[in-house]
Amino acid sequence: MDNYILYGITIILLFISYFNDKKKTKQALKKSWKSFENILPQFLGVIMLMGIVLAALNPETVSKLIGNSSGWIGIIVCAIIGAITLIPGFVAFPMAAMLLQNGAGYMQIGAFVSSLMMVGVVTMPLEIKYFGKKLTIWRNSLAFIFSFVVAFVIGKVVGGI
């Protein structure tokens, strides 16, 4: 659904651009191709890396790891799993809901969801290409620490601890 909208908008804009200025449109497409070609090697590497990590850490393994653990160790484990995995939201949220039903705490799930979305260890090679090593490492570290803050607040507000 999202994709249809994205393609629709792109095609319409491309047509408008073409009718207004053919030369500029050509230039735009050249730029698109150049920036895509530039990042392709990293993209391909990240895809393979994702395959390896996700094959090893499937939802069943994850739920085994954090389903029964609690306290700070559980939260840390959750945040680390969230940081290294790259699970699309439409898989992650139902999975998190399932974990909650199976007895995981709100704090753990808060840490997991937060670091899952903000920290990307697997995609770091891509991020470094754009932002450099230093900033990438800092951003991911700060986001990782921040996911504990989120976990704490969610535990307080939602879990009522």
């Binding site: 792109t10 993209f43 395959g51 949220f93």
Partner: protein, 180 residues
């Protein structure tokens, strides 16, 4: 010969990951095949999303003048720039790595560094489609609490990052974006 060497160097990381998958497959056949299957699936997903994103970026690069982007999101854009960065990031679809090429075009257009970092933060965690999904899966208190903590968090992280990185390093990142 030099071309092949350059190509090998560029694809070094990809080649290493292929070797890792091959080794995994040798040790544990089913795990290796599963990794390949997941990689194939992700590749299909990306192949679908990436073309329009890069075409849109090319159009943005050619049609939107630097002055306009600078006025709305550049130095001195203040609160307006911050709010725009959050809105654009939140309206996006797709995984975090999709945000990086967009950030590179923003840099070319003179968008302030802190706003780019806020944009990345918003893309990573306050995306509207994902928020709606989170609401239905984990409930209103969970999703709303997370959103309310995340918005100030994103802004704080953006400014903290600006503190740890020097002006020269930021210039370096902007210069690199020109060539991407």
């Amino acid at each position: 010969m030099k071309d092949i060497k350059g190509l090998l160097k560029r694809y070094q990381f990809f080649l290493v990951t292929i070797v890792i998958v091959a080794i995994v497959a040798l040790v544990n056949r089913s795990l290796g095949l599963k990794a390949l299957g997941i990689a194939g699936y992700s590749f299909k997903e990306m192949a679908l999303v990436i073309p329009p994103v890069f075409v849109l970026l090319g159009l943005l690069d050619v049609w939107v003048p630097r002055e306009i982007m600078m006025r709305y999101m550049g130095e001195g854009s203040g609160l307006k720039g911050i709010i725009l960065a959050i809105i654009i990031g939140s309206a996006a679809a797709g995984p975090l790595y999709g945000a990086f090429p967009v950030a590179a075009v923003f840099m070319k257009k003179g968008v302030k560094f802190s706003n780019i970092l806020i944009f990345i933060g918003a893309w990573s965690t306050t995306k509207i489609p994902m928020f709606l999904f989170e609401l239905s899966a984990l409930g209103v208190p969970f999703a709303v609490t997370r959103l309310l903590v995340d918005i100030p968090g994103i802004i704080i992280i953006a400014y903290a990052l600006q503190l740890v990185i020097s002006k020269d390093e930021i210039d370096e990142i902007y210069k690199k974006a020109e060539s991407l």
